[in-house]
Each structure stands twice: as C-alpha cells, then as structure tokens.
Symmetry: C2
Subunit: 89 residues, 2 copies
C-alpha cells in the first residue's frame, strides 16, 4: 500500500489526527483496519511516552510492528518446518 497514484483503489483514512490517501489492491475494509491498527498503536505508545513527538511515535510504532512481524515470521517458519517433517508440504 502506498500514496502513489495508479489504477488501484484509493481511500482516505485518518491516522493520529492526520488524513492519508492510501492506494492499494486490498479491499476498503482491509485498508481501514490497517489504518485503525496504526492509529491505536500510536495512541498506545503516546500514552506510555507522552513526551515523544508524532514523528518519533510513528517510527517507534513501525519498530514495534517490524519486531512483531519478525517473531511471527519465525513462528511461521517453525510451523512450515514441522509440516515438511510430517510430509505435508
């Protein structure tokens, strides 16, 4: 998903009080859910660290999500390895 233009669907979402025009192949509801998660995570981080400015808050939100992504990726690889061992792939 990006802010680039193209032939794909474009929807407007609000994240942490700012409007974003997001383009993607995904459904409108998926894009809205993603925006709501980012908004929630930024507000949660702000509650814990009220001195952080919006920019740092957004970067640290991305840091936390990449951390979660790597952990999930590791779990995913273990599941796939287990399936391979059982001859399920």
């Amino acid at each position: 998903m990006s802010q680039q233009n193209g032939n794909r669907s474009r929807i407007n979402v609000e994240i942490y009080g700012q409007q974003y025009s997001v383009v993607g192949d995904e459904s409108t509801s998926h894009i809205r859910i993603v925006a709501a998660i980012v908004d929630d995570k930024m507000r949660e981080l702000n509650a814990k660290n009220p001195s952080l400015d919006t920019n740092r808050l957004a970067v640290l939100t991305a840091v936390n999500v990449v951390h979660d992504y790597i952990k999930l990726k590791e779990e995913n690889e273990k599941l796939k390895e287990r399936m391979r061992q059982k001859g399920l792939e």
Copy 2:
C-alpha cells in the same frame, strides 16, 4: 520494544537520520536488524514518494508493515488450521 526505561537492555540506533534509544528483552542484534528494516522501508517509500514529509513517511511505513503483518498472520492461521486438521496440534 519501547523507549521506556526499566531493567532491560537499552541500545541506541539510527533510523532515517534520527537517534532512538530502544529498550527491549531482545538481543542487541535483533534490535539493530529491526531498526535497519524500518530505516530501509522509510528510504524505499521516500524514493517512491519524495514529496512526503518525514512524519507522513513514518506513518505510511507503519501502515505498510501492519499490512504485511496481517497478511502473514492470515498465512499463519491457515498453516495452524491445516495442522489441526491433520491432528498435529
């Protein structure tokens, strides 16, 4: 991972030209990898959308990472469901 203080390890990383002090239970190398991924993603998005300010760039990076996370989570659930069906859980 967060910017909060505590008894956990704290390391300094640079993301998109700014210094961050990140605290976490994870290894230093894990935190450095996470920071490098966020930095790469911000630079990649900036190359595609040079008019975006740093704040919007950071928020849209978080949006993209949450999108990737949800896709991976869906794949993960499918793998688990397949394992359940095969009596492996």
